[in-house]
Symmetry: C3
């Protein structure tokens, strides 16, 4: 079902059972798979690939227990040119995915997130709300990026990396702050990053490390708790 | 496709390409997205939201190698009032999800699970069979709750937390027992919980800790293996 | 939509809104759910179950930043007899899934992967490209198996286990090598395996261990970094 108010460019290919809601805009030469849902107002560039069974532009959800209520004034989801999005993904309204980004299958990206040019979001990765991801960043498969993170250009986040933004574990009434990963930082697989820690430029976190304090520029930490090598 | 034996309340909204099988019951003011599958007999309350591409009420699966064969006499899936379920979720027959629960996108919940009022199951979280989750529990994104766990009220399970119920790793012929998390316990992100360990009331497990023995009431453990602080 | 060039055996059941593309072959007594996509050329055996919202036979994706470009000459996806595949799964072209394998919901399996008879791939597990998995292997829920792994028969991989194949974290120009798990090896939940490490026959890796060097035959390692017990 393509709503009559949607606008499609030239050579747009759309699979079977795909739903394109009101006022969606899709650029030239974009290919959309089958059983995809594109919600109201989503704007998609040219030469984009959206794979099967993906949901784009959904609104955030909430229940009574949630400390932070979702933003209801979100802008439409914006997807740049030459972006590729896998199958069974979920991407929210209020985010911007810039040119050339690749999003793996089964990944989810929440609202108010921005992902700069040429970055990779791995399969089954989760990106929470209000997180900024620079250019040429690699977020490997199954990585978990909490809300309120800042990830600068050329960072590498290994598979299954975990992060947190809530020092008091659900007690509420405290400011949330996700980790900050500076330009060129590298995080090994299954590392654990605590709320608000800073991994400075070109620093390295070893696989499985539990990072409880800041990592200085160019240094490497390993272990639980993580300690500087050498 | 809505089967003629399904019963829908007032003001039920249903998206495109959604399949509602025999004898499904849906309460008033419930909204169901597009490309959703609701299997035979599922009972859904009022003021519920079910997002796109979600599968509700499926039967368990098995192959020859599986130690524990699935229960074939499962009751229908029951979903209470004011429940919100995200996109691309999978929830099995034989479970009960009580009023006001929120289930994030890409989460899965197996059979014979019960989740009490106002709890949150995070995005991409996995809840295995026979697990009990109390009221106002937060299970953060990407957390893995094994089968046969008991989680009391007001527990916080951080993102990417991992648990196991099988001390002998697939050797079979041993009783399975998941961890037990008592009222108000808090588990940090990417912590590892071994089979059968008990985290007592208001105890805290640090991020990245590997918990190999019980954690006393109100105490905090960190490290690998986890040791008591102070 | 079933393409006219697809070939279906006897007693094949197909749900609603399912797309079966050109030249797909499906054996006798196979059951396929609703809102499933089966891409061009996929070959499926007899007595197979494919659950709702699953995508089979898709091509790999790439962007400019990816070090390794996908293989464009992939053979069709082959699925043997008595295979069961869950809901919301994604399985690529160029892989072979042998008889009796079970794949849990929300799992993904990339190209050039082979999984031998009777193995189990858990729910929400991720199997990257070029990985070989033997017979009667259990890969538990949420486990992450990187590319270029070799997993021999009767291995047990616990839930949330993480692995890596890239010693230099995205710097490129180095050979990739995933871990090698020999016959009967057992890996505990949330363990971290570094690139190229070998876990020898019947060796055991404890829950939460960070394995930075080879594990000798029949021995057990625990901790961060993992050290031999006893």
């Amino acid at each position: 079902m393509i709503h009559q108010s949607a606008w499609l460019g030239k050579n747009v290919l759309i699979g079977e059972n795909t739903v394109i809601e009101q006022e969606v805009i899709i650029g030239d030469n974009t290919t959309i798979g089958s059983n995809v849902i594109i919600h109201k107002g989503t704007i998609i560039g040219s030469n984009v690939i959206i794979d099967d069974l993906t949901c784009l532009g959904k609104y955030p959800m909430a229940n009574k227990k949630m400390a932070r209520k979702p933003d209801t004034g979100l802008a439409p989801l914006l997807i740049g040119d030459h972006v590729t999005i896998g199958a069974n993904c979920v991407i929210y309204r209020g985010s911007i995915i810039h040119d050339g980004v690749l999003v793996g299958d089964l990944a989810s990206i929440r609202e108010n997130t921005e992902i700069e040019d040429e970055s990779i979001i791995g399969r089954n990765a989760t990106i929470e709300n209000n997180t900024r991801i620079g250019s040429r960043v690699t977020v490997q498969s199954n990585a978990y990026l909490t809300a309120d993170m800042i990830i600068e250009d050329d960072v590498f986040v290994g598979p299954c990396c975990s992060s947190s933004n809530d020092k008091y574990m659900g007690m509420g009434n405290y400011p949330y702050q996700g980790p900050i990963l500076k330009k060129g930082a590298k995080i090994g697989n299954n590392a654990t990053l605590l709320p608000g820690i800073i991994v400075e430029e070109n620093a390295t976190v070893g696989a499985g490390a539990v990072v409880t304090s800041n990592v200085p520029q160019g240094k490497t930490v390993v272990g639980n708790p993580a300690r500087q090598l050498g």
